[in-house]
Assembly symmetry: C2
Homo-oligomer: 342 residues x 2
């Protein structure tokens, strides 16, 4: 199914989703986003949740899904619509819920973080956590519509914009189209940049997803660019996803250059763009990570306790990524070379 | 994906499923089926469960899926195989688990009841219950293989065979092929009949499923033949599914005849076959059901609290069913006419 991405200044009109619409929303939005509370009340059914990883906990799945099942009971599958307003956790849980209620009802995302607007609301991955294993279960279930609402995204404080920009730099480096060149060279402020390039960045991700929607060929793994080491830093330092991915991108660029995939000139150019756009320079983790810890976090991220290798995404040139199976120890060696591991 | 149905005298060899195989099984099988315990120990991973509706309770989903997630951690999706040995509840839960772990690992069913062997292991519907609403969530996820093991099915006591035969009569009436005519006219004992016509009955169901795998056209609803009123009796009287469906089939045949869809001669012939094959004559519910209760159970079964109509499957002739939207009150009128409702 093709997802329709719609940009608008204001909230989509609730009645357009019909009498079977259920709004699932991050309860903090009523406080944070002007007009949100009034908009939420125009829905025939509303389910407020506390956003965050606990929403994705399989142990609480029954509690969390019950009000949505109740609200959609008596509706034909074609009439029941779950509209998810929130960031990554609300989208992951809500997408999963929509994919399984009556074996699949309609799904609309209204992302309320830049990270969700740029990345997680698109591509159809839903997820829950089991026994602390992040995203260990889920479904492939693209939303029929993603509504990008200027009024919501403009209400975000800048650090949240920074979250989104790292993913946008990632997709720009992978895609390399005209939009990506303009974006990487731009000196505009982040919020202007994000809004201006949002549609192109989403299209670029969607092209990758369309080639490998259910992760069978492996091509979709290129979206993991910057995430292999980024996830280690996110888990170890407890920093926000966007900050960690920025460091992961520095790492991937540096290693691509050291392996002579990427020229020195391109490396300098892309690293400079990353610094300018995200506002974060290359620092690595807060302090060097003990090597054993680094290796075990890498293996855990690959959901492979005893795995010896991971798929690492390198960059040849703008728009030319390459996937390679590399020994986990080789990743650790490179991290040690950069002083990120001790 | 096409499901391969394999009949064999003995258990499939565990090693053929590879090192990533996890056996999910009804723990009572070790006691009930000779050789089961020894076979289960040949799997690299085993997860024993208590079969029954509580296995499908969304409130306990985290607990139930955790050992399977743990056992498949570190396996590629193409290597992790969940082999589900059990009846309907094990298949419904296990199928759901396999469909969501890593967004879909491999799935094999080894049905251990006739009901599962004839019906529920085929067609790819998985299900859990939310807040007491039966099968309110689930996925469409056909097994890659269904292993029908003579040694297991022969170990079943006769009442369980009776469970399966009602579903087999249903599919025979819907399909009407040469096998169905032979089956409906046969005087053989039930276990002989079941085994002899199993492959043909499964093929007949699969042809219906293939036309409407994800329940979009509505054609698949013909499989609900006999189930509309059957489910009411199952819920009200607490009788086993097969017994209730037998009564539901009597009802559907009688109403088809009264509406002049079905000739008197065909009605007599099919009702006689149903009686002979299942060993259950037409009795209706244990005692007449209060009309308000009958109506509310019908509406609940359609997952439609205030629904005024249900889709009812009538029979024109052998192999010629027809779906009609009928008022719930009309179903109650017919039940009152038969003395099943007061």
């Amino acid at each position: 199914m093709t997802t329709r991405v719609v940009r608008s200044r204001d909230f989509p009109v609730a009645t357009r989703f019909g009498p079977g619409a259920v709004l699932l929303y991050d309860r903090s939005l009523s406080r944070r986003v002007p007009g949100f509370a009034a908009w939420s009340r125009t829905f025939p059914h509303r389910v407020a949740v506390a956003a965050g990883e606990s929403l994705k906990d399989a142990d609480r799945f029954g509690d969390h899904i019950e009000p949505i099942v109740r609200a959609t009971t008596g509706r034909a599958r074609s009439e029941a619509v779950l509209v998810c307003a929130g960031g990554g956790s609300v989208g992951d849980f809500g997408g999963f819920a929509a994919s399984v209620i009556q074996r699949g009802i309609r799904l609309v995302h209204v992302p309320t973080t830049w990270l969700a607007a740029v990345d997680s609301a698109h591509g159809g991955k839903t997820a829950l956590n089991v026994g602390g294993r992040k995203n260990s279960i889920g479904t492939f279930y693209p939303a029929e519509r993603v509504c990008l609402v200027r009024r919501v995204l403009d209400a975000l404080p800048d650090p949240r914009a920074r979250e989104g920009i790292a993913e946008m730099v990632k997709i720009a480096l992978l895609d390399g189209g005209a939009w990506a060149k303009r974006f990487l060279a731009s000196e505009d402020p982040r919020d202007v940049l994000l809004w201006r390039h949002l549609a192109a960045a989403i299209d670029a991700k969607q092209r990758v997803v369309d080639e490998d929607a259910r992760e069978t060929s492996g091509h979709r793994q290129i979206l993991n660019f910057g995430h292999t080491v980024g996830h280690v830093i996110e888990a170890h330092d407890g920093v926000p996803h966007g900050r960690a991915i920025t460091q992961g991108l520095y790492f991937a660029l540096a290693w691509s250059c050291r392996r002579a995939w990427l020229t020195e000139a391109d490396h300098r150019r892309f690293a400079a763009a990353l610094a300018r756009l995200t506002g974060d320079r290359m620092t690595g983790p807060r302090a060097p990570i003990p090597r054993a810890r680094f290796v075990s976090l890498l293996a855990a991220d690959k959901k492979a306790a005893g795995a010896a290798r991971v798929t690492f995404v390198f960059l040849h040139a703008l728009g030319s990524p390459t996937r390679r199976r590399v020994p986990i120890e080789a990743v650790a060696d490179e991290a040690a070379f950069l002083g990120w591991v001790r």
